[in-house]
Symmetry: C2
Subunit: 231 residues, 2 copies
């Protein structure tokens, strides 16, 4: 069934709205996203946008979902570009992809991992799944490597209290594809948190000036992570 001209134009306009929105967020921060200024930039009147999104929050939600998916796509592509058995290569490629994506899409990165936009509440239904994809890419690599005996999970991660252990087991059980170690869930959380810390410090310039530009700061820490995990 061929799409009508109207449908095609509509799809293109929807994409353009989101692109302009991202552009403006990149320039002025995610919090100052404004329908009127998007319309102005596009040469439309503001009410026209209501043909595409029921309100401002719906646009924000769409942007968030897109951003999560775009990031996850990047990580998956990086993962798929490596030999399955090369866990070290897969991890490094995915970590680099994470940083590269953040540098290339600072507005989207701030949108999903930065301070939430005031007054906006993300609808969990729509955002949880795309958000999880990113974590799963990292989680699978680490878990598979651990199962294959190519990664040593630090001892501390095996000493969770019964309460925490129960939560971890529950999370591990939610993933049907593989046998997931609960210590691996913990490891994944920590690695993800660590990657974020590095990228955040670089993007928002919380480290000393000039120090992170080259990406070497990031690479050294990735190496240290691999050393620590004997990966």
């Amino acid at each position: 069934m061929a799409k009508t001209r109207r449908e095609r134009v509509r799809a293109e306009t929807t994409i353009e709205i989101k692109e302009v929105a991202l552009q403006q967020m990149a320039q002025q921060g995610a919090a100052s996203l404004s329908l009127r200024s998007i319309a102005r930039e596009m040469g439309m009147s503001a009410p026209a946008l209501y043909r595409y999104f029921p309100d401002r929050d719906a646009l924000v939600t769409a942007l968030i979902v897109d951003a999560y998916n775009s990031l996850a796509d990047s990580l998956e592509a990086a993962n798929d570009g490596q030999d399955v058995g090369n866990y070290n290569g897969r991890f490094r490629a995915v970590a680099q992809a994470y940083r590269n994506w953040a540098l290339a899409h600072p507005a989207e990165y701030a949108l999903i991992y930065g301070t939430p936009i005031p007054g906006y509440i993300a609808p969990r239904d729509e955002t949880v799944m795309p958000a999880a994809r990113t974590n799963l890419v990292i989680g699978f690599i680490l878990n598979e490597a651990a199962q294959a005996g190519k990664l040593t999970i630090p001892d501390a991660y095996f000493h969770a209290s019964p309460d925490l252990q129960a939560v971890l087991d529950e999370l591990a059980a939610m993933i049907p594809e593989e046998d997931v170690l609960s210590a691996g869930v913990l490891l994944t959380i920590y690695i993800f948190s660590r990657l974020h810390g590095l990228v955040w410090g670089e993007l928002d310039e919380h480290f000393a000036p000039k120090i992170a530009d080259s990406g070497e700061l990031f690479e050294i820490e990735i190496s240290e992570i691999c050393d620590r995990l004997k990966l």
Copy 2:
């Protein structure tokens, strides 16, 4: 020289303005800070605030400087509460203080470490010093422990390129008090980044729901850090 009644009232009002500002930021996010709503809450007219701060940005700057100092005070107090030679105890106490402060002051935390407020540019002159204090507390502990042979800096941190090495040496030389290892500077950056990653995930709920509430997630990772550093 006793302060006049006027001076005392003025100081109190200044403090109240900042307190109300923080309250409102805690409720609605840092970006929606508004002079008018502060004045409303205080039962004053908005122009009156201009007796205390020349403009909105000056208030934001004052809040940022206060927040940095408050955090640094907490960390220093935690550090001072331990035996000087007990590096492990000092590190753990400071790390916990970092988390505790963030949980107790989420608005301030978001203000200094969250996404910058759109349109606001921090005056480096005023904010760099207070911001550095926090890093120095952690840095001194790690560096002193390393010097005392009670901490092993991971191998990867000794393999910086000449360019990066030069920047690290420069940073190390900026601290006159002690002999600072350039690898220790690197270590401090990474540890700080890691602490932030943990607290960010907990505050903004980027980990699985319910998982971080107890603080155990944080404690386990601190233990892992100590293990890794043989601290």
